[in-house]
Symmetry: D2
Subunit: 323 residues, 4 copies
């Protein structure tokens, strides 16, 4: 392998730039040529492909977002789109790919390999942390820290007023963000997609707090929980407790940005190197991840189909620590 | 005057603690005794009053919220409530008050003076900055910086995706928070209570941006603007532009917390000293503020009835800088 | 005037990019052409000059440093250097300049006008805040907030251990940074260039604190104070108090970087606009600044020769608040 | 076991409060009585012991430092001191201890058990991360993030000026803080106690950078490296390269403070629970830690005598990524 391409795809995550940087510099270190591909599969199809070297990735390790931009591509979902992408790669002489993204990204890469034989090694870049094959995804640590900083600020006010705060954090399919926010933010309850927390139980918790003169409560709500988000939960609770002084915060995309934490920069750097090393060693159709701090390559087939379960100990800890 | 009381009232604001600290230490410096009153007028009525000295306010200057707690008091709105508060103050020998809060706080203090002759000097503690008689209120600078940090993070994502972000910031009656967020955050539009921004004009701006291939936009919305907040505005815009990829963030009480900025600590310290100095000099029924960096005492009568206008230059700057 | 140039010079300061952005967009708004000049006078001499438009300054308002780079130029100190710079500007058809920097920058601009008639309007970009003609310089608010965040962290430790912390902040010629750090950080003493604080008085203060069982102290030291900085002061104090557990922190260039605060973005935006408006209105050889919130143009002659005095009230407040 | 005590000892670390909170609430959850001991072994000797319950640890999870204070105790190093400590514990009926600290703390606890039979389970609370028996210590993640934020700010300036920055971070005996700072901060070199980096090699690196027109460099220096710290290294380099524009930053105790990161709050919460659970299960003379995400109890004997080695891969990554 002499020439590889790097792209980011799907929702952006803090640390993607650190991963791009590591991949580019590892390529240089190992004597490969390296090209950047802009806007994910869209740019691959449209030939938004450019030569990178060590200095192309100077001063980006601390930046949120992705200098390669990101997009979702409908065209790559078609055979014609992938043919066009393949033709572009051929033209640039690109023999292997580093794909930074989530399962949508890897599904495309797998299909692409099956049809055209271009090997891809992926790095898990998503704040959601719900990818099988790695303990942590790039961007997750930063996103949770961002959410927690916001919750810390809310606590300053909570500490002075008799109020209930409903804070909606990201997590369409999992409570990976909500649970540490609840533990680290000293919240009373976390509502997550993986478990059913009824509005009744929230009302009970609030009332129980009032009973032991706990005058403020923070409820963390993953956007994907069954009731439909913080605004709906708050409305339902207020129907039963009309005197309750409630406030809703929806953190939204705030959680996606900002400079990556040390953890995410280290993870991204390590996995960026591992992607390039993997391609050199003949890996394909796999995602580089870390399990128990060890580097592991997991087939896309598995990352796409298997589910990573959130620890029951953590869910229990929310309850134990809010006594 | 030998003995004074200090309290915080209304919504909490970062810097209230710095102001309490300055008032207490200035009292000590000038040889007065000083008492803290908890939970605003509620604590005054219920005798939640305690002796403070220099060490009572150690290590609080950097803390958000208020160590004296805050509450709104229905009872103080009644003559009986105020009588009880007066009796409590008599019992403790308190002859003057430092009140940190907003217009609700000052309205109570004014009434209290008219009925019972207890002089109060107020300090403007509210993140909203819409108090007549001071260029800046305590907490405002911190709140705007907090909002702006969130907007900076949203821009990281905005920069990579073709999206429109609707960000709701505080401001029931004014655009004091929204306008600097828009200028400092590089937003396209600010919707504020003082001006009518139609949903149509937002749609036009978004379309115009698309026309010159500006692929992302940030719209800042003060909670009090006429359409009813970010969620409603976003919904209306999406009815007309169904293909638009829109995201809503409601910062909410995140803006109220956190350690105060230097600006707020300095302002709070200065005004805390000015309240105590004012009481010693015979001031009453006035709010200490700064206008053009000079210390000014403005009668509560005026702070309550007059309106501070937001600068038209600033509103124009949003437009000029988003060309 | 049809075409203007913009450059940054001297030490960089947070908000310089916001000022460049505002100048560029104001130029576009008023129908002028605008060129960026890299690396200050060096780039002017070497023709590092390029056309800018509205999109050249997208997504930079939040960035520390300066996208135009900065440098000190020995060559511009010579007549030959200035002649070369003038020739370059002629070649590009540049008729007026916006200079963002400090007194070194303005001294060059003044000379340049006297010799070649190119009008310059300056914006005060320096973290030191010691420029005559403006209440605040661009970058100052950010620098002080950065220093204060560091001091807040030190206090966490100070609060648990019996220690004396010596923290050196920037300020070769003034205590503008040290004084608010001391007030806002709850420090015991500020050593500044404008006043003589003897090592003996520091020893007295530390001992007095021990006397009233204050077990930790923070001493803020401006780098330019007479004893020669934190390391030397700490060494001298330890000679007298060998049992004292002392720690030294030198914040250094940490204070120069980071995203600008709201205050600095607003000030920079306002002054960037004012520079361009000033050039259009025929201003030259002046610095745009704000005094009591009003926009003021002050001749370079005065900004260079006059001294802005630090408020004695502030120096006194350090003492009053550390009782 | 019915009644336990909790204390923090040695240098404070962010997350100690989160650990105290978890230990107290776990004790409540499991039906134990729990007492706080102030100022480590000093307070144990002097009977600074007080009853805690769930509300004693409200609103502290986000706080740096330790509410239980910390101190080093000479007296506990003597048999008499330990006897007095034992008598105090007897008086309060305390049968087991949770000790949050480092090897000094654990050495004392081990001796104490051998002489008096009081079982202790320890939690690793130190920013240095150099404790055998756990992959991470409480406070380490926060300290590294704090250092990195400072380095990010320095890079803003580095990016505009031709300068070499020497940044001293903590680490008397190890490069655990320096290495991720170098990788995450994009530094050229890390000087650490575990490896010899000569001043000559630094000079070579700086010159090599100049050769490929890299105009600025950041050198990270662990305080314990062999040359004696940043100030000495900078001085030596400047003797050889007198024209080099160098700047020194000594972060010092800034790295010890601040609110803990999510990682540290989670780790601290988990280990605080594990300490209490361990005592209930009959553990003694062991430190609770996590290895490969699993909970592990390691005998104090081993944590004190064995050394945790820093990964050679990480040291190599600094070089690979700074190409």
């Amino acid at each position: 392998m002499k020439r590889i391409g790097v792209y980011t795809s799907g929702g952006d995550a803090p640390g993607m730039n650190a991963c791009v940087r590591a991949a580019v510099r590892a390529a240089v270190y190992y004597g490969l040529e390296v090209y950047g591909i802009k806007r994910g599969y869209n740019g691959m199809i449209n030939g938004e492909i450019f030569k990178m070297d060590s200095s192309s990735v100077s001063n980006i390790i601390q930046k949120g977002g992705t200098i390669l931009k990101s997009a979702r591509s409908k065209e790559f979902m078609t055979k014609e789109g992938r043919q066009r992408a393949y033709d572009q790669l051929q033209q640039f002489g690109i023999e292997g790919l580093v794909a930074i993204g989530g399962n949508g990204t890897f599904t495309g890469a797998k299909l692409f390999y099956e049809e055209f034989g271009i090997p891809t090694v992926g790095a898990p870049g998503t704040i959601d942390n719900d990818l099988y094959g790695t303990d942590y995804t790039i961007g997750y640590d930063t996103a949770v820290n961002t959410a927690l900083e916001a919750i810390d600020k809310i606590r300053d006010t909570a500490d002075s007023h008799e109020r209930v705060f409903f804070v909606e954090v990201m997590g369409r399919d999992s409570g990976y963000i909500a649970i540490p926010c609840a533990i680290g933010g000293g919240a009373e309850i976390a509502m997550i997609p993986e478990a059913v927390t009824t509005v009744e139980s929230i009302i009970d918790t609030i009332r129980a707090g009032w009973g032991r003169s706990k005058t403020s409560s923070i409820i963390i709500i993953a956007e994907g929980e069954i009731e439909g988000g913080a605004m709906k939960v708050a409305t339902k609770v207020m129907e039963v407790l009309p005197d309750m002084d409630a406030r809703v915060t929806i953190l939204g995309h705030v959680q996606r940005g900002g400079p990556p934490t040390v953890f995410d920069r280290m993870l991204a750097s390590r996995l960026g190197i591992a992607c390039v090393k993997g391609l050199i060693d003949g890996q394909k159709n796999v995602m580089a991840g870390t399990i128990n701090s060890s580097l592991v390559y997991t087939p896309f087939e598995e990352t796409i189909t298997k589910k990573k379960e959130i620890s029951q100990d953590l869910i229990k800890a929310v309850e134990m620590l809010s006594v």
